[in-house]
Symmetry: C2
Subunit: 290 residues, 2 copies
């Protein structure tokens, strides 16, 4: 695997030949079944870009003139409130696409993107992409599916904010993270990305201190272990149970038959959060609560 992209220490454009770029494109479900020739054409006009850890790629409010795909690394998507507090909307991993909204509707970026690790990205310019979009109906279908996916995630997220307390949200977040970035060790699932408690707090929209205390109390009861910034989930059933708990939990036996929709999987040993009858468009990957 001819690694020609390793140098270029400045973090600017790097070289990667068209065939390699095409292979990378195909990893995103959006592009994966475009006709060969279109994809090859697209690969030719696509560029790659390195972003060092900590650098911001664009700010909320910027012009949206490109679409990105994560090749390696981790991208954090976030918005900031007027008091300077940040809310992390998503953590994107290799294979994920981002920046599509502003690109598609031509308005300003809804959120900022920042490298949460050294990243390599694939960049597709606006004009290029829109052109391609016009030419192939299948691409439009895929974009629509992508957007629907996002919309569903957003709705879920909103429900969590509205219905769950810090406790449950944190548990849920840890579940998602352990699915997306977990590595199975002997005694539990270790979340293999370095996340400060501040990072976690910003994902949930709560204070760092509150996260700290909850984490401590859970590691006290042996539900998880926190080791130099890395979290290992030791008892994932208990974690799942926590994630279920509603704020005003009168554990009355669930009024109606409805409402189950979202639970179901989590307990019964799941890898993703898809409904049974579905077969959606998505990646195939479990989509770590972006």
């Amino acid at each position: 695997m001819t690694e020609r992209a390793k140098h270029s220490p400045t973090g600017a454009e790097t070289t990667l030949d068209a065939a390699q770029r095409e292979a990378l494109l195909r990893r995103s479900f959006i592009f994966k079944d475009l006709p060969q020739d279109l994809l090859a054409g697209l690969a030719r006009i696509t560029t790659t870009r390195r972003i060092p850890h900590g650098q911001t790629l664009f700010q909320q409010g910027d012009e949206g003139d490109a679409l990105y795909a994560v090749i390696t690394g981790l991208i954090r998507i976030s918005v900031v409130g007027r008091a300077g507090k940040a809310l992390t909307l998503a953590l994107l991993e290799p294979g994920d696409l981002f920046g599509e909204i502003a690109l598609l509707d031509g308005l300003s970026r809804t959120a900022a993107a920042e490298a949460a690790a050294d990243c390599m990205l694939l960049v597709i310019e606006r004009a290029t992409f829109l052109d391609l979009l016009q030419r192939d109906g299948r691409l439009a279908r895929h974009i629509i599916e992508l957007l629907c996916d996002r919309l569903r995630e957003n709705t879920d997220r909103l429900s969590e904010f509205a219905f769950l307390d810090l406790n449950a949200r944190l548990a849920g977040q840890l579940q998602s993270l352990s699915i997306a970035h977990g590595r199975d060790t002997g005694d539990g699932v270790r979340i293999d990305i370095k996340l400060s408690q501040t990072d976690l707090a910003e994902m949930l929209g709560v204070s760092r201190e509150a996260v700290n205390k909850q984490l401590k109390s859970w590691s006290a009861i042996g539900m998880l272990r926190v080791d130099r910034g890395f979290i290992t989930v030791l008892d994932r059933h208990r974690l799942a149970a926590m994630a279920q708990a509603e704020s005003g939990e009168t554990h009355a036996s669930m009024t109606k038959g409805a409402g189950m929709a979202k639970s179901a999987g989590a307990i019964a040993e799941k890898t993703g959060r898809k409904l049974p009858g579905s077969m959606g468009p998505s990646n195939g990957k479990p989509s770590a609560r972006r």
Copy 2:
């Protein structure tokens, strides 16, 4: 204007001729510039449906086999938490489309839809619509714009949850409502839909009591008037100011230059919440915080 749709007391299918349906379709920006023949074809296979106030059209988790457009009335889109609490995601008025997500991606409905007033709806069956979607690229473009719009609204909503307290959110909600449903009376803008305080609470994801108290305190200082369930905004500048306030408001002079993006308009006598440079795809209407 031959009103042939007034009877059918059962609330089932009503008659409305194809030309009328076509005219209605054209009111949604999604359809408005489809080629004449396609639109006419679509109108022919479209049906209308009446829903009496209070009836639910579909539940969260149902199969999504149709797309709807509101002709008259008001539709409430909401999700429920396990404790039975509801969160209202949107209040849709004539011209608005809904039910597109489940229809497009084939998964289950993300939320429930219920008539918040007697409604007349336009119904487009799944197969019909997908067929049309395949046939006309412009439709896909419009759908994409619609979805982007929704996504932006969702992100905004999420920020509000994360950054603003009840106070500010309520103010913001009233602002939006007064834009979407306000009628200018001599002494202020009256919100012309009947909303119980419970309704308001469910839109914000807070308790009814809290809404009541806030509303009282505002009417005490003359910022608004509450009269038999109808709210009139008397001092909309003050209301806008309240909507700005951040929870942890240290009114330190805003650390960075960024972050303004969302404020800007509200103070300076605005009618909508669009950024200056924008002019998005949206309806034209100010999009009442769905």
